[in-house]
């Protein structure tokens, strides 16, 4: 599994400080350990998009996608891939454990796990791109609940549609939080023509002063 060190540092608010020996070792240990204990798994399915008065619908499912931002993201797409990724419960268990025994390690471990989940997402996205190409489609970037005005309240319905609990053990609690926590769901549009997005998912987001915002300062 690939874990991008630069991303890990970004999640921890790194701004080019000198990384001392202890921190360096902690970082390397955590990257190794996350890679070792992750039980990454994923699910995806491709659906036809139906445009109805109440919003975008995915054919053969109960999902209706409300909100302007997701509408914009999927404008021009005929189909939509729905994906779910998780690192599994062992990562949560370790984060819990380190939170009680060594908070510095918990923080670094958590950041490494976030980077790992992103990296699995990239892999799944590539798989979807390949399938899409074989069907004659180009793909958009990933769009997840919580981006822009797309409510995270949709996580529950999404989990039902993909049967994420049965398939990969991914559940959604009453507050729409995914458990295991290092999990991601996303929508990818399939369209006949290449989209002109930059590939930087932060650019389309409205949260201008978010401390994790990439490359738009």
């Amino acid at each position: 599994m690939y874990i991008d060190r630069e991303e890990v540092l970004r999640y921890m608010g790194y701004r080019g400080q000198n990384i001392d020996h202890t921190t360096e070792k902690l970082l390397n240990d955590c990257i190794d350990e996350v890679a070792r204990v992750s039980k990454e798994s994923f699910l995806y399915e491709i659906f036809d998009i139906e445009r109805a008065a109440e919003g975008l619908c995915l054919k053969g499912t109960t999902l209706t996608l409300a909100g302007e931002d997701i509408g914009r993201h999927l404008a021009g797409s005929e189909k939509c891939a729905l994906m779910a990724v998780t690192l599994g419960l062992e990562v949560d268990k370790r984060i819990n454990f380190y939170s009680k025994t060594d908070i510095a390690k918990a923080l670094v471990f958590d950041a490494c796990a976030t980077a790992a989940a992103e990296s699995i997402c990239d892999t799944v996205q590539e798989k979807i791109e390949t399938v899409a190409k074989s069907m004659g489609f180009e793909t958009t970037t990933r769009f997840s609940p919580g981006y822009g005005d797309f409510p995270i309240g949709i996580q529950k319905e999404l989990a039902k549609v993909l049967k994420t609990y049965e398939g990969i053990g991914l559940s959604v609690n009453e507050s729409s939080i995914m458990i295991p926590r290092k999990s991601v769901t996303a929508f990818i549009g399939l369209r006949r023509e290449k989209s002109d997005e930059s590939g930087n998912s932060c650019e389309s987001c409205g949260r201008r002063n978010c401390s994790f915002r990439k490359g738009v300062e």
């Binding site: 400080q17 039980k39 109960t62 923080l107 609690n173 009453e174 939080i177």
Partner: protein
Amino acid sequence: MGNIFESKEFLIFDGGMGTMLQAYGLKAGELPESWNISNPGKILEIHKAYIAAGADVITTNTFGANRYKLKGSGYSCGEIIESAVKIAKEATGSKLTAHDIGPIGQLMEPYGTLSFRDAYDAFKEQVIAGTAAGADMILIETMSDIYEARAAILAAKENSHLPVLCTMTFQPDGRTLTGTDPLTMVNIISHLGVDALGINCSLGPKDIIPLLAQVLKYSSVPVIVQPNAGLPVVLDGKTFYDISPEQFGQYMAETAKMGAAILGGCCGTTPEHIRELKKAVSGLKPVRPEAVKLTAASSATATVILGEEAKIIGERINPTGKKRLKEALRNGDMDYLLREAVAQRDAGAHILDVNVGLPEIDEKAMMVRAVSELQGIVNLPLQIDSVSPDVIEAAVRICSGRPIINSVNGEKKTMDTIFPIAKKYGCLVVALTLDENGIPEKAEDRLKIAEKIVNRAGEFGIDREDIIVDCLVLTASAQQKEARETIKAVALVKEKLGIKTTLGVSNVSFGLPDRELLNRTFLAMALTAGLDAPILNPMAEAMTDTIKAYNVLWNIDKEAAEYISSRSAVNEQPVFKEKEENQSLKKLIIDGMKEEAVLTVKKLLREINGLEIVDTFLIPALDVVGQKYESGEIFLPQLIQSAETVKRAFEVIKDNMLKNAGEVTGVSRGKIVIATVKGDIHDIGKNIVKILLENYGFEVYDLGKDVPAESIVKKVQEENALMVGLSALMTTTVKSMEDTVKALRLYCPDTRVMVGGAVLNEDYAKMIGADFYGKDAREAVKIARTFYGCE
């Protein structure tokens, strides 16, 4: 009815429902159970097809009929289950109906937010409805989490007279999604009074075979197998399974020959699969392999078997004679308890004894809390140690594994109170060889009591394998001749009863000098006599080393491999260079050198008092680190490593104060209650705030994550805390933060509220009525210091 599972014929269950419904047009995301009401004809058709294929038992279409999955569907649990059982019974006629109960679909605490109590209540509602509707048995199936399975089984046993079957689903690594292996599953579930247990779903039948072998080896109840029709393959947007009905039948005949008695299918199986299965086993008869009986305790993910090499039961979570633990229990400081647990595990403990009895605290509430927290952090089985049956029952009820009860003795009254609890929750029991007449002097008389206890246990349906005898250690200083009687009694119990033994070894040396020497000698003697599970302090190396040496001399540690590797580890232990140890404490903190800082503080304490160390070294160092952080010279992990270092230093100082003055004084700058609000489970941010506040001398009461407003209000009132810190990370949980602020305003008007978390900002914080917004942990410290007038 129960004996249908022990019948001379195989009992054939039906196959998949979901896959069939999809073929009939069930949408992805649609509730399959809603068809019991909106489309009952189709459900009946599927049931009938399975009957025609030869199934003896039809499973109701109620897999997800729990209150959580039904929320927002417009249907109640009762009406869905009632209609489902009705349809099934219409199809079955003289055949049987199994009320199907699947997982709730949410993860349980501590990883998720579903409590044991809430899971139990949801299952109870289902069980009552299914039983009232006339089902013949309860099938709890496709469980991934043993804790949830345990809640479901208890709900079934306590609210219905029907037979109960329970199956779990396994991953390619041979464990369930939450980490339970087959042996652990059997060790926990088979003792809960189920009529059959087994494996379903998982992978295909072929991959189930090695797991099934484990289950059959240990299960004392009939075994059920319901595999998927292989793995799902998606072709042109449609899902297929890669095992044909014929292949399925052949594999199932294989499982039948191994010893499975109850057979059926799961995802992807159709009436055709069941027809082939029936055909394939038609010439066979069920065989029941003799189960291997173990004396074994389990956590949710690991099993410790007694009777192999000596297994250490860690004794340190017991307040007797431990000032620091007493203080932690009084303050509800769970982190201290957890650190003790982790330290014991790291030092080689296999099982942890948990005793939290203190006259001034609510032992039951504390025990329940301790058990929940411990089992979330360490994967060692627990030994529940209390004199109160109430406390014991409350604790073993919420245990996720198979615990040991410590203890019962030869008094009739005690046995008659404790054995029913042990039986119901499937626990092991420590049996003390004493009774109404006290502890007998002679080994032979202690054996007699052990025998009496084993016999009485048998009358309650508890096997001798589930008893661990403690022949009792007396102090050699007071009763010298009885030390030998204890050793003799251990040998007698092993020889005459063949039962596993435990001993609280270190009692022997009370009142004598150089206790360790006596302890380790006595331990070696007891091990030779047949002691299986010494209760001792695993941090005492003399003791663990004695076991290692014994394992060599008793030919357990083959070729002394473990012994040799443990010896080389001793030689490699880090030796701190004089230079580092002598560095100023301030620099050690700034550099985050934890171990070195601890050593330096210990040294300093010989010369100056703790408070002086705090003021001269700790706080100034923290200020430097804080400035470096704010100026961007260091970043967050570095700040926290320094904070951890200060925390360790504080611990040393506190211990020292307790030892010298009997209490910790002069440190507290004020009380702050902190929590991550209800529904939210993110707590790294909150924990960072906590450690920094503690570093600066605040008394922090950390209520954890997913904390309801009522609990926060209660704690604030109890402690008279003037400040509360709340954390929420999601837009969805800011609402419960707002509710918490409102509750605090109402019930604790003098308390100020500080909030923080990724989705908040100054305006948002004002909007929900908070007094302060802390954008990060440093800011939180500044707010607290200003509020409590420290600056």
